[in-house]
């Protein structure tokens, strides 16, 4: 537990010290939203469906970059090896890295939501809390997958290209559920009407956080 806290604190400290992950993620979210605003017809691109889709596209792109970077940042000076040599279990390292990448994704989600409210002329209302909940559930599932698979990007040949190819199809169920629930919430429906979608998101999170926790030791080790 002390080791978990130490890693999380260290990651936070590094980010405060001019780590660039937040900057990169927020500007990426901004870019995605801007591209979508221009890519769609203005008349069409107003509704909650478009806004929900845009938010999730931003979230997936941010996750792809940010969540993996949290693991890859340990590669410098062989720090990942130092973590492996320390008395922590691999699962604790996973939990700590997951916490950090989840934190960054939530940051990106908040930024993207604020931007989307402006760009798509959404009402600022109570639905915002429900929307954040849905996005946070999605971010957790994505970072669970990305943290587990990020090492592949560093270690396998052609890994950086391969990683999105592996993560996005695996993330499809959460993506479907998340977009649907977000759109419902944004069009003014209560979160309770999307109970099934939220259920799928929660099931996805539980499943992949557990899987990552159990399987991480098999991917971080060296030959």
């Amino acid at each position: 537990m002390a080791g978990y806290a130490a890693i999380v604190k260290k990651d936070l400290m590094l980010e405060v010290r001019g780590g660039r992950i937040t900057t990169v993620l927020v500007s990426l979210a901004l870019l995605v939203l801007v591209v979508l605003v221009f890519a769609f017809d203005r008349a069409v691109a107003q509704g909650p469906d478009t806004a929900a889709g845009a938010l999730w596209i931003a979230l997936v792109f941010a996750g792809m970059l940010g969540a993996t970077r949290v693991v890859l940042s340990e590669q410098e000076n062989g720090c990942l090896r130092a973590l492996l040599l320390s008395p922590l279990d691999r699962a604790t390292i996973y939990a700590a890295k997951l916490t950090a990448s989840f934190g960054f994704m939530v940051g990106a989600a908040i930024a993207a939501t604020i931007l989307a409210m402006l760009f798509f002329n959404l009402e600022f209302s109570m639905s915002l809390a429900a929307l954040m909940l849905v996005l946070i559930l999605g971010a957790l599932g994505f970072s669970a997958l990305a943290t587990l698979l990020a090492v592949i990007a560093a270690r396998a040949r052609g890994g950086e290209l391969l990683l999105p190819l592996l993560i996005v199809p695996l993330f499809v169920p959460a993506l479907i559920a998340g977009v649907k629930a977000s759109a419902a919430v944004l069009s003014g429906a209560a979160l309770a009407t999307s109970r099934d979608w939220v259920g799928i998101l929660i099931a996805f999170d539980v499943l992949f956080v557990t899987a990552g926790y159990l399987l991480f030791e098999h991917v971080v080790g060296e030959e």
Binding site: R157, L162, L165, P173, A211
Partner: protein, 235 residues
């Protein structure tokens, strides 16, 4: 994996396949609503069954590889994912060829098609990892982990995609109406086809697996030669 078993399996596959073909084209009555094109169904469904079975096998092989170790499990997973992708691709193609005359479109985001497509994407990524990355124990572990994670994802994909389609208004006739299998001969034909495809699957898997085992043995021999030369000082 001995050659005689392989050949016997190949032969029985051939026989079963011929019987299945005979039943599909000569014996089974034509379905009333869809006409002759409904006969795609008798090979389409077994392809899907085989694809799902091999993806299940990928996960099992992955679990055994991580648990017990041994290149044999890695080779099994590798063979299974390849054969599974072959049949998964065939499901998509035959599904398309069936959808065009019946639904008037090559592709529709029907729940089963979508699920199959998502699986195809998932295991396609896995196969690319297998094909491009070097053949190291580390990559084998990655592959095992991805195989397990993908199998865990399959039920979630099925549930979410089904929910996704039912909430949308059903634009197209659901497929259930299409094949009620009202004639017992239809059921019999389907069962024989499934049996034939299961044999085919076992045979293909065995062939590919045998090839991968040979590769593993080749690697072991090459390593042994390298070690002997190393010991002798000829680095």
């Amino acid at each position: 994996m001995s050659k005689p078993i392989q050949n016997a399996l190949g032969l029985s596959t051939l026989v079963a396949m011929l019987v299945a073909l005979f039943m599909v084209f000569e014996w089974v009555p034509t379905e009333a609503e869809q006409g002759i094109v409904q006969r795609i169904f008798y090979f389409h469904v077994p392809c899907a069954w085989v694809a799902f079975a091999s993806f299940g096998l990928v996960a099992v092989a992955g679990i055994f590889y991580l648990w017990l170790g041994g290149q044999i499990w890695d080779d099994l997973g590798h063979a299974a994912v390849e054969v599974g992708m072959l049949f998964c691709t065939l499901v998509l193609i035959t599904g398309s060829l069936w959808a065009k005359p019946i639904w008037g479109t090559w592709w529709t985001w029907d729940s089963r098609l979508t699920t199959t497509f998502v699986l195809w994407l998932m295991y396609g990524g896995y196969l690319i990892l297998r094909a491009t990355a070097e053949d190291t124990p580390q990559v084998s572990k990655f592959a095992a982990v991805i195989g397990i994670v993908a199998a865990l994802d399959v039920p979630v994909v099925i549930v979410s995609v089904r929910l996704w389609r039912t909430i949308h208004p059903a634009v197209l006739v659901t497929r259930q109406g299409g094949h009620g299998l009202e004639d017992p001969r239809m059921v019999a034909t389907l069962l024989v086809s499934i049996a034939a495809f299961t044999l085919l699957f076992a045979w293909l898997l065995m062939l590919r697996f045998a090839e991968l085992r040979m590769r593993t043995r080749l690697g072991a021999l090459a390593r042994e030669i390298a070690l002997i030369r190393f010991r002798a000082g000829a680095a």
